[in-house]
């Protein structure tokens, strides 16, 4: 029993650390990637004992700065809610990560330890629920700030997130129809199979349209450019107008966490999670014949690495997107959500249904 708790605790700590470090790292990636895209150099001055490391210490410097900044709340704001909002945002996004499997279950000291904090049996619903709850952080922040720009930002955010939630949900329905389970570990395992004998049975190949809708709606959920209506820094500043220091940092951090969560979910649901193509428990079995034996520990390492690489890729993709496109106009945003993504989601469900029925 004690061991179970300990294992869970260790997994929580590892997951959280991984997520947070990745988020921190992502702030650096965001800066560096955008810089490289734009023929710039990017932040490279933060140094520890003269060691610059391409500005890798920048996130830490930022974090320290945020921590030491004055904790400020406007006079007319509602203090408690003002504090609560970033915490809520952060919490609901961070908590999503508990359901994501990092790798296949490992066998250690006679125990089967799933590389996943909790293996919820309705994890997909849990993830959707947690992501939806994140809206509260935004709403509360806008309300608590007692600032009309913040309020406008938060209401925009609420409208946007709820709208895209629909598309997000619809895109997953097809997946649920295809996959036999809602359990994320089950979904990942299911994706270990092959279609047509050679193609990994990844969600993206089964549900290409579903993936497109999911990823686009997911990006809208992260509230980042080109979907940054709630923030709109060049027009209304947004729901965190009245936030500074650590609280602002939390919001920022939440943004990056959302990127990671979206990448992790996209990986898990559509790109086979920790699955490496043609890699089974015993090693690679290539569809064109032949196999490669791999030690079990190496399999686990490869799987965790595969998961990370996939997550990285999606993070990179999102950053690329964010630095490529300009912001939507609000009506375009709503049009895109309701007139493009939602119908596509429905079409996807219908098509999936037809195909399943036809088979």
């Amino acid at each position: 029993m004690f061991a179970d708790v300990l294992i869970i605790l260790v997994k929580v700590v590892l997951t959280l650390t991984w997520t947070l470090l990745l988020a921190l790292f992502l702030t650096w990636v965001e800066r560096k990637e955008s810089a490289v895209m734009q023929d710039r150099i990017g932040a490279n001055r933060a140094s520890v004992f003269g060691l610059r490391l391409f500005g890798l210490f920048q996130p830490f410097a930022d974090a320290i700065k945020m921590l030491f900044k004055e904790d400020f709340a406007p006079t007319f704001s509602q203090r408690a809610l003002h504090w609560l909002a970033p915490t809520l945002s952060f919490f609901f996004v961070a908590v999503t990560m508990v359901a994501v499997p990092f790798g296949d279950a490992i066998h250690l000291f006679g125990r089967t330890i799933p590389l996943q904090v909790v293996d919820l049996n309705a994890a997909l619903l849990f993830v959707l629920a947690m992501l939806s709850l994140g809206i509260y952080g935004i709403l509360v922040s806008g309300w608590a700030s007692s600032n009309r720009f913040a309020l406008i930002g938060s209401l925009r955010g609420a409208a946007q997130l709820i709208s895209y939630e629909v598309a997000l949900g619809l895109s997953l329905v097809g997946l649920i129809m295809v996959f036999p389970t809602l359990r994320l570990s089950g979904i990942v395992e299911f994706q270990g199979g092959l279609v047509f004998g050679f193609l990994p049975k990844w969600g993206v190949f089964l549900q290409p349209l579903g993936f497109a809708v999911f990823f686009l709606a997911g990006m809208a959920e992260t509230k980042r450019v080109p979907f940054d209506m709630p923030e709109g820094e060049s027009e209304i500043i947004g729901f965190y107008t009245e936030y500074g220091g650590l609280k602002f940092g939390l919001f920022m951090f939440t943004d990056f966490l959302e990127v990671i969560v979206l990448s992790a979910l996209a990986t898990t649901l559509f790109f086979g999670g920790w699955q490496v193509p043609w890699l089974g428990a015993g090693g690679f079995v290539f569809p064109w014949g032949g196999s490669l034996k791999v030690a079990p520990w190496a399999v686990t390492v490869l799987q965790v690495l595969a998961f990370n690489i996939k997550v990285f890729f999606f993070c990179w993709l999102q950053v690329l997107t964010r630095w490529t496109y300009p912001r939507f106009r609000y009506d375009q945003l709503m049009d895109f959500g309701w007139k493009v993504l939602v119908p596509l989601g429905v079409v996807n469900i219908l098509a999936t249904g037809f195909i399943l029925a036809a088979r």
Binding site: E33, V36, M37, L320, T321, T324
Partner: protein, 155 residues
């Protein structure tokens, strides 16, 4: 529908451009890191305090008064610069010069950089080509407002 596809096409083109830049630059950065093709710049950023961009000869920087051969400013305090200055930042007081060929010389020639908008009108207005904005001095900062009121005749 067509419009939708066009948009999609443009979106993909945009991503292709940024992506191309990313990969190209990333390659160069990486190569440079390993000392290969180190001369090729991957980025246009100038590392400001250590590196300086060369100023264009037409660049308008801090004003100066040209000097006569004997070191006195060649300004004759005609106040045309004062007249033309749109931000009213120039303040000139004239004094008598002993040389009857010069007669008029500035006793005070102050430019208030707090107000100056570096339009260069003063340079264009000057009938004796006394004021110029070619010092190349662009790092103009002071901790007080008075510190930015610069006497050009005393420099």
């Amino acid at each position: 529908m067509l419009k939708g596809w066009l948009v999609l096409r443009e979106l993909l083109r945009g991503a292709a451009i940024t992506g191309r830049h990313f990969f190209a630059n990333m390659t160069f950065h990486t190569l440079k890191l390993f000392g290969i093709r180190a001369k090729r710049r991957g980025a246009v950023t100038i590392q400001y305090p250590e590196e300086r961009k060369a100023l264009s000869p037409r660049h308008r920087s801090l004003h100066r008064l040209r000097a006569r051969e004997d070191g006195k400013p060649s300004c004759v305090a005609c106040m045309l610069c004062v007249t033309v200055c749109p931000s009213e930042c120039l303040s000139v007081e004239a004094a008598e010069d002993d040389d009857p060929e010069i007669q008029k010389t500035p006793a005070r020639f102050v430019v208030d950089l707090n107000r100056c908008c570096f339009c260069g009108f003063c340079v264009e207005a000057c009938p004796v080509d006394a004021i110029r904005m070619d010092t190349g001095e662009i790092r103009l900062a002071a901790s007080t407002r008075a510190g930015l009121e610069i006497s050009l005749d005393k420099r």
